[in-house]
Subunit: 139 residues, 2 copies
């Protein structure tokens, strides 16, 4: 089911060293470029696609002019697994961060509407920014 090349090993190590972090293709290329062991952009795209197919990595597509980001989620089952499985994300329109959203109501809605957490990205204002505004909402 595919070869284990140097590039694949390096990429997988890099990703799994930071589970839950949001990493773009550009991040990956820059990381290896700095260390002198460059990987071609095309290869990064293709390996990430393979890793997504294999369930080791989740891909989150943001809006059109923003690069997609990837996240190591390990080898768990996609739904109802342990920690590390796909969860919803929210892109904060104020501070720009992409944050994990864990909220029982949200999971209920998600199940009710058969939503796909791997692709659904919310746009809104994160808890920190709302707190800074003095509204005091909690995510």
């Amino acid at each position: 089911m595919g070869y284990n090349t140097r590039q694949r090993e390096a990429l997988l190590t890099y990703l799994s060293d930071a589970p839950g972090r949001h990493i773009t293709v550009a991040d990956v290329c820059a990381h290896f470029h700095e260390r002198g062991e460059a990987i071609g952009t095309t290869t990064v795209y293709r390996q990430l696609e393979r890793l997504v197919d294999e369930g080791l990595v989740s891909k989150y597509i943001l809006d059109g002019n923003t690069p997609a980001c990837f996240e190591y989620v390990g080898a768990q089952a996609h739904r109802r697994g342990g920690r590390g499985q796909a969860c919803f994300h929210c892109k904060c329109e104020r501070c720009g961060r992409l944050i994990h959203m864990q909220c029982d109501e949200l999971e209920g809605i998600g199940a009710h509407l058969a939503l796909n957490p791997m692709r659904t990205v919310f746009y809104g204002v994160c808890g920190d920014c709302r707190a800074a505004d003095g509204e005091g909402g909690a995510v």
Copy 2:
């Protein structure tokens, strides 16, 4: 507050003739191209941006490789207005349709988390497709 050009009038007529329909820039160009009264792509982008600013049109950004789509919503207030204001959308991963989502729980969640309906697009399976599967869920 801006001129009323032939292109703007034509675009506004086209959009308002189909309120609630999801229309891309390519749709607009194709429509006018067929009728021999072509409009430049750049102009469509710029006029749509103006219409969004004016609140007559809502813009929905789907995933990275999909063109944004626009929808005539009339001259209502953005939030808590009458029918036609911005609402959440769901892109069905089975049939590909982009459907309006109206659901009290969802609006509650959206307000709770300060979500932006103009940009938040859910990915999941629409009610029709789930019904066809015999699961019988309702949106």
